[in-house]
């Protein structure tokens, strides 16, 4: 047992040793220790280096508010967790932990030269220094900052752990398992409603464990707590979640909880979820988060061994660890005396309590006297000695000017308490300044939420219990025997005989912000506390200023000479404590990262080794490479086979919407730019959809299945927004129409057959449809059967060849596909993917919405004026098409481009200029939208949006590309079979 361990004290099990290493050195702690308590038990306070000056630091707190003791826990590749607070990390056997921010080691840190030159690193240092010259930023400044100022190193390997997330609901959510939270839970449990009580520590109890020296309803605190835990454990409607932090509080009582499941286990099962994020919707939220003690801002307050009084008390009572053998106390608040007495009663020497106040409560004086503790009233600590650990301090009496030194190996400090308003602030609850407490307390709630206990400004066990009970609707009053929590004072600044410039009085320990820095920021003109925060970085570290905000506020308030309540508090934002990204991602990684939709025919394509591309959420086969083929070779083969004989293509991803009702045609007339009334049943038409601004929004073939029924197809990626667009107009503009929309995308598998042998292939399989060209012409649709299955058979072509699109109910899709593929062998039937589909359509000059259009292209610009009705009185986009800008000359128009050098494939997106020799910056005329090598034409082809393109036919333009500028000739877009004769194959 180490010298600092106090057997019989604390809620740890000293019978079970736990071995771990810190910075490579072996240590032994006990079951129930945190890394911080175990190290302190071994006499180690030095646990980290500060962010800017790399000053040696030890823990200031004993919980999640800790600013200093940030560590890495290394559980192997990809499992290096950084920026963990040693005060919250539970040790387990074999744990490997490291300090951060130090090089080459914690005791000798090169970066500490920043400290020596700290005069040159004032507030706003980064803003002021790294400004010029610009070229230095990438090469000098940024690497320097990254080297010197980084927190823990992020792991570079993939995190092998699993993470979970879930939605949960309850009537009452209680955040914080101290006496207030427990009393609230006990009360709420009676209602039978769902109650969730969360606490970030290993077990609930809070101050009943940290400061157990009290009796509740005649029972020792520990007994009362044990009974309460049992009661809550038995209540079926109560869920107690330990190791769970409420990280954010959002609209309508939506609270995010982060539950740590395996970090405390030595050998978690491989694959066990490490954390779970619970997204809880609560009827009512009771915040019982307690209060955070404030440091005193004095010269030398950051030496390892200087810590909050409550932390010293917690280390003793919760972990059975003495923070030192000779522990001095410096306070402006009565509560620190409780810490001193607890330590003294555990046989730890308290050489002195230095109290900034002249008048000390008589009972405290008496109790101190009884324990032989010297009180230095009306005095302050003017400096501390020791670099890696405090060795002593100097007491200064501002009235007499007297100074004396006292030896110590730890110093407890207390500047009073700050109610924890973080989650309350997330919820946009109002706050008000309490001058007596010198702290903000909750004011008007913005949600169905209430604060109880210390976070409400009600200190002491009795107040917490009563407050918690009341928050849950109870009227119980608890009988509690406890020491009076007491009061304190707040001094604007502690007196010192040492010049300001020679002092190092830290406010924000993690970001190394001193009192001087805040004053400097104000002097330099930053008056708003939000600006002071950003300029000094006070409160911007991973602890979000839990221990520093109020001190900073008071210093700033004095510097700007405004009352604190006029200066205001900076905004708290989620998460309450640093949270792993993985916890936020939850299940949604790997194959659950996003939905990947595939068609019923997909497994066939996968077996054939298809190469895929994502289109919206769909994964589509892009091409089907054969042995040794690259994409280019595969696509050329697929194109040739389709044009010469027969290609088969899975078009199932096309969006499909069934438009049904007596007013279906009227609706179609309004939502598409072309006319629909004239389309006969059994006919198909290319539909062009505009948005209200007159720009092309979507397109697709539409078949009229009945007078009152249209089978609409949309682009693959456009289906969801087209459905929304249609519903929007139908529900809010064309409300007098009797028509309904039903999404049918996945009802149908669509097999597109293209090529001169398409009809021959399907003929034997089709029932009830006369396939002869006379009866079933191009742009017609029929219903019947194929392979014995119901079909909507479209005779359409997106390739320029004779084409059919066979719609069959989805779950028959693969079987029909395989039957046709088998039967197609005599025709060398060739499966092709989206790339070949794109080439074939480009050869015909058919556009792809979103590739050849970009949201600023009108039908006229795209050469589709023919698809805009001149007669209709209304359709979406009609009026906008007449806007002066949309009918202006010189708009970018879709043209074809033929590179003069027919070995050149233009880059899609490449810019187009008239004169390649003009001065820079050149005048851009437009850009290449589609570009392919066409086997059918034996040359490369491209489509482009070019200013005034329709008037540039046959002219030569230039496309600058990396290495060379290429001359191109402007043409029309119908490159191949412009008359469409190939559709007429018999």
């Amino acid at each position: 047992m180490s010298a600092f361990r106090k057997p019989g004290r604390g809620a740890v099990n000293t019978a079970v040793s736990v071995n771990f290493t810190f910075d490579g050195k072996k240590y032994t702690g006990v079951k129930g220790d945190t890394l911080a308590s175990a190290l302190i038990a071994n006499g180690v306070h030095l646990m980290g280096r500060s962010f800017k000056y790399h000053r040696p630091r030890g823990p200031v707190g004993a919980g999640s508010e800790e600013p200093n003791a940030l560590v890495v826990v290394d559980r192997g590749t990809g499992r290096e967790s950084v920026n963990l607070r040693a005060t919250s990390v539970e040790i387990f056997d074999g744990m490997v932990a490291r300090s951060q921010n130090s090089f080459p080691n914690l005791k000798f840190d090169i970066g500490a030269f920043n400290n020596t030159f700290s005069l040159f690193f004032p507030a706003g240092f980064y803003n002021k220094t790294f400004m010029w010259p610009k070229s230095f930023w990438d090469k000098v400044y940024e690497p320097f900052i990254r080297n010197m100022a980084g927190l823990g190193p992020a792991p570079t390997a993939v995190d092998p752990d699993s993470y979970a997330s879930s939605y949960g609901h309850c009537e009452v959510l209680i955040v914080g398992g101290g006496p207030a939270g427990i009393a609230a839970a006990l009360q709420a449990a009676k209602s039978g409603e769902r109650v969730i009580l969360v606490d970030e520590r290993v077990k609930i109890g809070g101050s009943l464990i940290d400061a157990p020296n009290c009796e509740i309803d005649g029972k020792p605190a520990a007994d009362w707590l044990a009974a309460a835990v049992k009661t809550l454990g038995k209540a079926a409607n109560v869920t107690v979640m330990n190791r769970t932090t409420a990280i954010g509080y959002y609209h309508d009582n939506f609270v995010a909880l982060n539950q740590r499941l395996t970090d405390h286990i030595a050998n978690p099962k491989d694959g066990a979820p490490r954390e779970e994020t619970h997204r809880i919707r609560a009827g009512k939220v009771i915040l019982a988060q307690g209060a955070i003690e404030r440091p005193l801002v004095f010269n030398g307050n950051d030496v390892p061994g200087v810590m909050l009084a409550g932390a010293g008390q917690t280390f003793l009572n919760r972990y059975g660890v003495a923070v030192g053998h000779e522990v001095a106390v410096f306070t402006s608040h009565d509560s620190a005396y409780q810490a001193a007495f607890d330590l003294a009663d555990a046989n730890i020497r308290i050489p002195v309590i230095i109290d900034v106040r002249d008048d000390i409560r008589a009972d405290l004086r008496a109790e101190a006297e009884r324990r032989g503790i010297d009180i230095a009233a009306g005095q302050v600590v003017s400096k501390t000695s020791g670099k890696l650990r405090i060795t002593g301090l100097e007491i200064y009496d501002p009235q007499s000017g007297a100074k004396r030194t006292v030896k110590c190996d730890a110093l407890l400090m207390s500047g009073g308490w700050t109610p924890s308003l973080h989650l309350w602030s997330h919820s946009k609850g109002g706050i008000k300044w309490d001058a007596d407490m010198a702290a903000y307390v909750p004011d008007v709630a913005n949600e169905n939420a209430v604060c109880a206990g210390a976070c409400n400004g009600d200190f002491g066990i009795a107040a917490a219990l009563t407050g918690g009970n009341k928050a849950a609707g109870g009227r119980k009053s608890y009988s509690v025997t406890e020491r009076d929590f007491g009061t304190g004072v707040t001094l604007d600044s502690l007196p010192n005989y040492i010049k300001d410039t020679k002092q190092k009085a830290f406010v924000d320990f993690q970001n190394d912000v001193t009192e001087k820095d805040i004053k400097l920021a104000v002097r330099e003109g930053f008056k708003s506390i939000e600006h002071v925060k950003r300029y000094t970085t006070n409160g911007m570290a991973t602890d979000q200023g839990k221990t520093s905000n109020l001190n900073a506020l008071q210093i700033a308030s004095k510097a700007v000479d405004k009352p604190v309540e006029k200066v205001g508090l900076t905004t708290f934002r989620p998460p309450y404590t640093p949270t792993t990204f993985a916890a936020l991602i939850g299940h949604c990684e790997g194959k659950l990262f996003d939905v990947k939709r595939v068609t019923p025919i997909d497994p066939w394509a996968r077996e054939r080794g298809a190469v895929y591309e994502p289109v919206g959420n769909w994964m589509r086969a892009r091409y089907f490479p054969q042995e040794g083929e690259d994409m280019h070779a595969a696509v050329r083969r697929e194109c040739v086979a389709t044009r010469e004989s027969l290609g088969i293509f899975d078009a199932s991803t096309l969006g499909k919407i069934e438009v049904v009702g007596p007013d279906a045609a009227k609706f179609m007339n309004l939502i598409y730019s072309n006319p629909w009334s004239s389309l006969k049943v059994g006919g198909c038409r290319y539909g062009l959809m505009l948005n209200e601004a007159g720009f092309i929004y979507d397109d697709g073939v539409v078949g009229r299945m009945a007078e009152d029924r249209f089978h609409v197809t949309t682009t693959t990626g456009g289906a969801p927004r087209v459905f929304r667009h249609m519903e929007d107009y139908l529900q809010t503009e064309f409300t007098d129409l009797d028509v309904w929309l039903t999404s049918a995308t996945e009802q149908w598998s669509v097999i597109a057959l293209n090529g001169p042998n398409a009809r021959k292939l399907i003929e034997p399989f089709v029932d009830g449809i006369d396939l002869s060209p006379e009866s079933f012409g191009h742009m017609q649709v029929r219903t019947g059967k194929i392979c014995g299955v119901e079909t909507r058979l479209f005779r359409v072509s997106f390739s320029g060849e004779l084409g059919f699109e066979i719609n069959v109910p989805s779950h028959f899709g693969r079987a029909v596909w395989e039957t046709l593929f088998e039967a197609g062998q005599p025709y060398d039937i060739t499966p092709y993917g989206t790339e070949t589909m794109h080439v074939l359509r480009a050869e015909k000059g058919f556009i792809i919405v979103g590739q050849d259009t970009d949201g600023t292209v009108t039908p006229h610009d795209a050469g589709l004026s023919w698809a805009v009705s001149k007669k209709k009185k209304d359709f979406v986009g009609r009026r906008s098409l007449k806007r002066s800008d949309l009918v202006a000359q010189g708009r970018k128009q879709l043209v074809g481009l033929l590179p003069e050098d027919d070995s050149v494939l233009l880059e899609e997106g490449a810019q187009i200029v008239a004169d390649p020799n003009q001065a820079l910056p050149m005048t851009m005329l437009g850009h290449v939208t589609s570009s392919y090598y066409s086997d059918a034409l034996g040359r490369p082809i491209a489509m482009a949006l070019v200013a005034d393109g329709f008037n540039l036919n046959d002219q030569t333009l230039y496309v600058p590309m990396p290495g060379k500028t290429h001359a191109v000739k402007v043409t029309g877009t119908a490159f191949y079979d412009p008359k469409g004769e190939r559709l007429n194959v018999v």
């Binding site: 979820p273 939905v595 769909w618 009702g661 995308t745 996945e746 989805s810």
Partner: protein, 184 residues
């Protein structure tokens, strides 16, 4: 022709806490009516169309859910195919309405067991306690990335319908929750 729903369910999704099973072939229609016609259409068709959004009528072989104002999803066993087609045809002839067959659009799963609600809540934001989502309630909602239709048939039994291509995502999501549960 081979009817192929093309999805398999791993054994890990089958234990006492939660079991995911795929239903077989179903006949489905999306039916829309004008408000004024609902009463008469119900009577003439014999369809028990629930009046309120969220309502269901669950009978042997046929479930009808009211998903929106005068919007119903009818899910029936294949044996009712002809009869239901006839009913739809007659409704279409007699009333201004929309009946669209969507039999192959959806896949149907049942999620059963005491852990069913918790498993679904991994991705579904609704309160699935029996009080808030009682037996007989059905609704369109969201399952993280997948739109679903969800209804409760018993305290520990839900039916989920999902568009075909979203089914593997739903299955994989539930498999992940089952794996987490087995490992924890």
């Amino acid at each position: 022709m081979l009817f192929n729903q093309a999805i398999e369910i791993d054994e890990s999704l089958n234990d006492d806490v939660m079991r995911l099973s795929l239903s077989g072939e179903r006949v489905r229609y999306s039916l829309r009516l004008k408000p004024a016609d609902v009463a008469a259409a119900k009577k003439s068709s014999g369809l028990k169309l629930p009046a309120k959004i969220g309502g269901t009528s669950i009978a042997a072989g046929q479930t009808i859910l009211c998903l929106g104002p005068q919007e119903w999803l009818i899910v029936a066993l294949p044996k009712s195919r002809e009869k239901l087609a006839g009913t739809m045809a007659k409704l279409s002839a007699d009333y201004i309405c929309s009946a669209v067959e969507v039999s192959h659009r959806n896949l149907q799963f049942t999620v059963t067991g005491p852990g069913a609600a918790r498993a679904l809540n991994a991705a579904c934001p609704l309160d699935l306690s029996v009080d808030a989502f009682p037996v007989g309630k059905g609704t369109r909602t969201i399952f993280e990335g997948a739109p679903i239709v969800l209804w409760r048939t018993a305290e520990h039994e839900f039916t989920v319908e999902v568009w075909r291509s979203f089914a593997p995502y739903l299955r994989d999501f539930l498999a992940k929750t089952a794996k987490d549960r087995h490992m924890a």
